[in-house]
Amino acid sequence: MSFKDKLLSSYIALEDYLEFDSPLHDVRNNAIKIFEEKGFPTKKEEAWKYTSLNSLLKPDYSVYSNKERNVELKNVRKYFLHEIDTYKLVFVDGVYNSFLSETTHDSLDVCLMSAALNKSKYKPVIEAYFNKAAKSDSLTALNTAFTKEGAYIHIPAHKEVEKPIEIINFSTGNEAAIFLQPRNLIVVGENAHVQIIERHQSLSNNEVLTNSVTEIFAEKRAYVDYYKIQNDEATASLIDNTYISQQRDTVCRVHTFAFGGKLVRNNLNFFQKGENCDSTLKGITILEEKQHTDHNTLVHHIAPNCESHQDYKGLFAESSTGVFNGKIIVEKDAQKIDAFQQNNNILIDDKATINAKPQLEIFADDVKCSHGCTIGQFDEDALFYLRSRGIGLKESRALLMYAFANTVLESVKIPELKVRINKLIANKIGVSLGFEL
């Protein structure tokens, strides 16, 4: 039985257990129909030209496990931002782990999607927001149909959340292969302020495939700062579908640190629905071996007087492959837009590959839209300069790689996270420099 068929029959089993009067019932049924019709995307689709899911669809995944797995804090502590206090939503093999988590209902909600779906007091929020920003592509639809667990975060108006919120999905390897579909809903009220860190981490060498959907709604004047850390095992793959809906005067920033995993696909979508929005999409990608990371971004300028900034840096070693597909759409009424996109790549080894494709669709006439894309090797003059000061070739390269990636790091607003990412980069580059990066 193909993976698709397995999922479809699993859905029939799931349906029996769902409540028919749930507001989600129709949403799920429609979603599974979309998935049934479209199936998994193939390389024939333009947006998937450089990323094939074929090899990921072969293992016999366990589709949902209800078992509560235990993980020892001491074994996973390093994956948390433990230097500072944070709210935490921790899921182990797709199941909420209360021991490792720190939730709250005190003036804001940092809790579970399962609770939000089942308790009547959350019903208005679910009805107003759930699946309202997500597109109806087959992978998002698949996640929607099976929505069960994930993060539910609701920040009321004017609330500045005093500490970051971490969303961490562990997989233990207790199943030979596991398919996970976390579903996150984040609603940030008017003039509210939040910082969120999301991480997917496999704790074994068993196959993991995660198809995650996150919807973020920023009400007017809200500020959302979101960080994705992708530094997973060579047997863990991730399809991340993130949708951000911005009302007027909002600032939303997403940083994606893609340091590996078997295959990572980031579908990052911004919708600017009100005037004076500011969107930032930044990423550092550092890959080696046969790792593959595909950044597929969309910035949809619907309203006038908005800005968007994209800055993606990639370093590709050995046989790794990267894709950057950045689409900007400026609608007819979205005048006075300033949209900027930058994508710079360095191929460290001959076998490494990057496919970069900017796509601009502009229907307004008074806009400023610029994009730049470079693919290169190391700058020989810079290397000579460093080496002439006594710094060896390997260290000189490391310094240049660090310098190359650094512009993305500058805008990380959580100091502890910045230090952490610095260390990850130093580790990835594989050189200890004479100073703390």
């Binding site: 020989e380 300069y385 080496r387 240049l400 512009t407 100073f435």
Partner: protein
């Protein structure tokens, strides 16, 4: 200290240097002058070990060891320093972190431990003061957004920190106003001793008022065509290079 014998070197099979002979002894200051395109910067880069240049004939020894095949970092570890005409901008790496790395890498090559942080800080402070460099400047990204003068002063700061045996200053005077020129020259003079040597590459005699050379060489078409004392520099300033060309004919 430095001996260059019949050096032919260039790019892609075309020799830019066509038989350079030069000896620099410890304690000496040499000036190399010459018109644009005569090969001055090429000579500096070849001595420092820039890999894109190919040495087709001749050799370079440093303290009686042939260094022609050494990597740039190995030459640096032996005490050769090149002050760049166009220092490269490295965003994201501060001047301080850069110089720390350079010093500790050099120490590592000699089997020494890293320099203790307190000692490093003291030295940085001392050298920065000598060159009248603002402390804030040291935490800025290396050469990024620096003015021409700041870049050159930063080069001499690195030289002061690394304490090389042989310093080659490639057009260090270009882009400097007279005050900055004096500060830079003063720094070089303070670093000067019987045990080290300086090669100054320049178009103009101006810098040589402050860094006084023992010998002046004229480089033309990849060859040293005339050598003399500091008076030769004045003569060149006054009369240009054409008379030498005529003399050669």
């Amino acid at each position: 200290m430095l001996k260059i014998k019949d050096l032919h070197a260039g790019l892609e099979g075309k020799d830019i240097l066509q038989g350079i002979n030069l000896e620099v002894k410890a304690g000496e200051v040499h000036a190399i002058m010459g018109p644009n395109g005569s090969g001055k910067s090429t000579l500096a880069s070849v001595v420092a070990g820039k890999e894109e240049y190919e040495v087709s004939r001749g050799y370079i020894t440093f303290e009686n060891e042939d260094i022609s095949e050494l990597d740039p970092e190995e030459r640096a570890h032996k005490g050769i320093f090149l002050s760049f005409q166009y220092p490269v901008e490295i965003p994201g790496v501060s001047v301080t972190n850069f110089i720390k790395t350079a010093i500790n890498e050099t120490r590592k090559s000699k089997g020494q431990e890293d320099m203790p942080a307190s000692e490093m800080l003291k030295m940085i402070k001392e050298k920065a003061d000598m060159l009248e460099i603002d402390r804030k400047f040291l935490s800025r990204s290396l050469n990024e957004g620096f003015s021409g003068g700041e870049k050159k002063r930063n080069e001499i700061f690195q030289m002061a920190m690394l304490e090389p045996k042989l310093a080659i200053l490639d057009e260090t005077d270009s882009g400097l106003d007279i005050d900055a020129l004096k500060i830079v020259a003063n720094g070089v003079n303070k670093l000067k001793s019987e045990n080290n040597a300086v090669v100054v590459i320049t178009h103009y005699q101006r810098l040589l008022d402050y860094i006084v050379p023992d010998f002046v060489h004229v480089l033309m078409n990849g060859k040293i065509v005339k050598s003399g004392t500091k008076e030769l520099a004045y003569e060149l300033e006054e009369k240009g290079y054409d008379w030498i060309k005529e003399e050669l004919v």
